[in-house]
Amino acid sequence: MEIIECSDLSFRYGKEFVFDSFSHSFSSGISLVKGYSGCGKSTLLKLIAGYLHQQKGCIKVPAPWHKPSKKFQREGLGFVFQQLNLLPLANLVGNLNLVASLAGISRRQTKERSDLLFEKLGLTELRKKKPGSLSGGQQQRAAIARALVKKPKVLLLDEPTSGLDDDNTKVIKQLLETSLPKNCICILSSHDHRLEEIADEIIDFNLRLPVERHLKEVV
């Protein structure tokens, strides 16, 4: 069984710790990390991806990468940011092709996978369009397609449904429920309750906040 293991993880921006001594193991399936803004959900995802570097502790990602590295980012990781996910000068097919080629996936396989993903996400008609001409929801769906095209072992989605209507959210939920690669570790960071029903595990970061900050967030 594939796992991501975070041990004694500490991270701070400047002097203020976002989290301190965080330990958790994420296993295959969908894990939802929820909490108020600024509680460190996105930071955790970026640390696992290797986009940020922790001050203390260690992160183990599945074999053969073992730790967050460039190779892991190219081959084993799919990441969806809250916004600005797509390269503006390439159309949707181009965006998917580029990521797949970096992962070493053949042209034929890329085409098969992207056709399937575009169909599931309702983007077939828009495949030749550039991101600038798409709505927010369409862009977010395309970003998920881009993350899934390489069949990643680790899929990290940072607020994937933020600002999306129910229809778009439904499409994304369905895709995550039905189309995740086998043994994929999917971690969602969100405060969107609509996603809780597809999660196999929910980690509430609010419980990790110091009491005074927790109260402040509640107020």
């Binding site: 996105s42 930071t43 970026k46 640390l47 991806a49 986009y51 940020l52 570097h53 460039k70 190779k71 892991f72 980012q73 190219r74 081959e75 990781l77 990441f79 940011f81 809250q82 916004q83 600005l84 996910n85 797509l86 390269l87 503006p88 000068l89 390439a90 181009g94 092709n97 580029l98 990521v99 080629s101 970096l102 070493g104 042209r107």
Partner: protein
């Protein structure tokens, strides 16, 4: 490989899009680089042309030639004449002592000629210079544009001479500056004794003789004998002059190159940083896919190199176009300005400038290299 092609295509699109979106930024960079390259090329060409002019002068003068000029002896001065003093040079080569009158001869067509007076000690040297066993007439006129052996009536003050026209030897150019020269034997020039003269010696050393040592000895001798106003012209000095010009050229190249490089680094660097900031999200997104920063740096390196190579090429073309115009105005001999024989604007002749541009391109993107080290997570939300 496929991924690299796709990335290259995307980044090329990015470069082109920026060029079309902000043509002013592209034009500004190109025009500034062209101006700087053009200045550098002209500076370099001026040194090359000066060197060529000196080389040509040395070549036409002959490496074994020495011309010594001294103002004539005043009535109060007591010192030997140049002719007597240096007579031992006869054994070491062609020795031709003469005196120049500070007045001109008038030719029939209204032209003027320099007047040289020779004596008995000069005859063998004179014959050798003219390439004859013996001159047929004692008075002769060395001039271009006149039929050889023609007799020309020449007037000096109120005296008339019938001079035979002879072809001037090339070395005479450095005495007369291509003007005709009238040679009169001392025996026929008694009437001009009261006029000021310049004592001169033209000496062509034999191949085995070290002219540099002769010059040194001559200078020492002249000082010892009380000659205080004299001038020695020799290619030996010009060779030194040539080395000096080359030395200055190296220094000017280094300073000029540094100046060009610094300005290019500042201008290209500032614009590249500005464009990087506008493009920071796309760049970070690329990095998030696992792409190494080096691939992204290549985009800025490539853009800088393309712009600088285009500028360099344009500067070379413009320099060739204006070469004659600029250097003719600067006073260079037109025979030196033909680009067919030597073109200082070829790529191969400008490896130094090309290196400066290459280094400047690399240094200009250093701030981007540093900026690219910023974690993706701090850029993308």
């Amino acid at each position: 490989m496929r991924s690299l092609i796709l990335i290259f295509v995307y980044l090329s699109k990015d470069i082109l899009k920026r060029w079309f979106e902000t043509p002013g930024a592209v034009l500004a960079r190109i025009l500034i680089a062209i101006s700087l390259c053009l200045l550098f090329l002209f500076m370099q060409a001026s040194f090359v042309l000066t060197e060529k002019a000196v080389e040509k002068k040395i070549e036409s003068f002959g490496l074994n030639t020495m011309i010594l000029r001294s103002s004539g002896q005043s009535k109060t001065e007591v010192r030997p004449s140049l002719d007597q003093l240096l007579s031992s040079l006869t054994k070491l080569g062609t020795y031709f002592p003469f005196s120049s009158l500070y007045l001109n001869a008038e030719l029939s067509g209204g032209k003027r000629a320099k007047v040289l007076i020779y004596n008995d000690h000069s005859i063998s040297g004179l014959n050798s210079l003219m390439g004859l066993d013996q001159m047929s007439e004692p008075v002769f006129l060395a001039a271009y544009g006149y039929p050889e052996a023609m007799m020309e009536r020449v007037k000096v003050l109120n005296f008339f001479f019938d001079a035979e026209v002879v072809k001037p030897p090339s070395v005479l150019r450095y005495i007369s500056m291509n003007d005709p020269v009238l040679f009169i034997p001392q025996s026929m020039a008694k009437s001009f004794e009261s006029f000021s003269i310049q004592e001169s010696v033209l000496f062509l050393s034999d191949d085995s003789v070290d002219l540099e040592k002769i010059i040194e000895t001559t200078e020492a001798l002249l000082k010892k004998e009380g000659f205080d106003r004299y001038e020695i012209s020799s290619p030996i000095k010009w060779v030194g002059e040539l080395d000096g010009i080359k030395d200055i050229r190296m220094k000017a190249q280094a300073i000029g190159g540094g100046f060009v490089g610094l300005l290019i680094v500042l201008i290209f660097g500032s614009i590249a940083v500005f464009e990087y900031r506008q493009n920071i999200f796309a760049t970070a997104l690329f990095k998030s896919f696992g792409l190494h920063s080096n691939h992204l740096i290549i985009r800025y390196l490539l853009e800088g190199l393309i712009l600088l190579m285009v500028s360099f090429f344009c500067a070379c073309q413009l320099a060739q176009l204006f070469h004659s115009l600029v250097f003719k105005k600067a006073g260079f001999d037109s025979s030196l300005l033909k680009l067919d024989s030597y073109n200082p604007y070829f790529f191969s002749e400008n490896s130094y400038l090309l290196s400066v541009l290459g280094i400047a391109t690399v240094v200009a993107i250093l701030p981007i290299c540093i900026a690219l080290r910023k974690s993706v997570g701090k850029v993308l939300g």
